[in-house]
């Protein structure tokens, strides 16, 4: 089993090296998995993906840590006025730190289907990114990702949880 694991790691590492030589950013169409992500085999034979010891943290400046979430109304990507200040402070930081890169994560509540929600989450992330651009942030400093309903902030199957889960999170 251990041997197999090593062989697999080697395979992943060598393919990664190949892909790293290619300049196309969009790796597609049934290529070998060239991920830089940790890949292994569990005792039960399952493929394991990711580093379980990696902490999910806020990678931006400490002063913006508690000030990085924008909440949305149900099925809406409209940014409410009360969150404009949050975006302005992040825009200010990005403009004074041109090497900083912002990732806008879009999330939804659990209602509706996962595949529809991931599209809705992207619309929320895009809406925030567009606003940041309007505030003068360089488009190259911005990227978006939608997690749809897959990463709720609050567990629960009621409006109290849902209202906290319909959100965009600004991370770096």
């Amino acid at each position: 089993m251990f041997k197999k694991y090593l062989a697999m790691l080697f395979c992943v590492a060598s393919v990664f090296a190949l892909n790293a030589c290619s300049s196309d950013a969009d790796q597609t169409a049934l290529v070998e998995d060239g991920s830089a992500v940790d890949v292994g085999l569990d005792a039960d034979g399952a493929l394991t993906v990711g580093d379980p010891n990696a902490q999910e943290t806020f990678n931006g400046p400490a002063e913006l840590k508690e000030n990085n979430t924008i909440y949305f109304a149900y099925n809406s990507e409209n940014i409410q006025d009360q969150y404009l200040g949050i975006m302005q402070s992040h825009a200010q930081y990005l403009k004074s730190n041109p090497d900083a890169r912002l990732i806008v994560e879009g999330h939804t509540d659990e209602r509706g289907t996962p595949e529809y929600n991931i599209a809705l989450g992207e619309r929320r992330a895009r809406s925030v990114a567009r606003y940041m651009q309007n505030l003068g942030v360089d488009v190259n400093q911005l990227s978006i990702v939608s997690y749809g309903e897959e990463k709720p902030d609050v567990d629960g199957h009621n409006e109290a949880a849902w209202s906290k889960n319909r959100r965009a999170v600004l991370n770096y």
């Binding site: 493929l47 659990e110 996962p114 595949e115 199957h157």
Partner: protein, 428 residues
Amino acid sequence: MFRRLIMAFAALAFIGSANAELKIEITGGINEGHRIAVYQFAQDPNVKFDVASVVAADLMRSGKFAPLSRNNLPQGGVVNGSIDVEKAALSSAEFVVGGIVKSLGNNIYNIEFQLVGLQGANKGKVLAHFGGRTSLATMRQASHRVSDRIYEAVTGQRGCFRTRIAYIVQKRNSKFPYQLMTADYDGYNEVAVVKSTQPIMTPAWSPDGKRIAYVSFEKRKSAIFVQDIVTKKRKILAEFSGLNSSPSWSPDGTKIAMTLSKNGQPDIFYFDLAQGRFVQVTANRAIDTEPTWSADSKALFFTSERGGKAQIYKKDLVSGKVERVTYQGARNLSAKQIPGTNSLVVITQVNGFRVARVDADGSIYMLTTSTLDESPSVAPNGSMVIYSTVYQGRKGLALVSSDGRFKANLPSSAGEISSPAWGPLLSK
């Protein structure tokens, strides 16, 4: 009714005492199928496994049968695998099943059964029979095979008791909280395929049952992978900028449809496996997503907001024509064609999100009364729909028959379960 329900529970509890992660709680329709008397098989004492109870549970879950409680069956209806029609008919069942499991030595067993009619013109007729060899390890599969034969003899449809399902388990406190699993359709023989620190979505079976396409967020963005479920080797199918979501394998195995937003908004594409290229199917400013294939692999159903709110549309890939399919309900999502019919199963928004069936004439029938249903997947014989819902405060799987009469929840002992995908019919 209530008494019968309790007995059904007692019978099922006996079966469920093995290490299955998925149990079953019947919540409706238990009395509505064919009444069938499944007698305990005459078994070699080495066989501790109760074949007849697995068969009865299969038949009940299909929604087409109402197996009588074993305790209520007339004495002497089946003796040592031989059926006494007159005695068995006292049960008022339509059909009787009797069988025998004999040891042939060296862990080889012969399993035999007969299905005999008890009413009207069928009275005394052998409607199905089967004999075959098995081992202790494959006794459960052999029992499902008995169920398949009975199901087909009575309904005229193939049984699908030997199919697998894929689903996502979320275990909050695990090192790898997001796990893609496969299991027999009844939850036994669970196998972990992938365990990840980041979300996994939308498992989709290849029609040969050997590979699963799925969405993984392991790189802090979405990507679609295709993985061999036995060797665990995998390849990347799509990791464009933006969404890479909702993979769906064409029934003829030649294409994988998906949603990509690389052009700025979510549109439907497919990857042609023979030609090794992507083909764009829709180009619309509104959200287009959830592509699934028609049975002939020549059209795609998808969810679109082009008309305002999300509804189901169909694109004919030969003529290029797009038509709207659903009109009733505030929103309709997640269409899946029911094999062998022109009907679709959808998630419809009416007082919450429910599983519904849309027939060819556009009429819509609610199949469930819950409010947070999602990810419906239809059994390959069209008889049942598995979906995820919130039940007693937890997300888990549930079954409903395509006619809406039979309902059951499959509460899990381990974490929240979502995204069920019913695998293909394979063995004869």
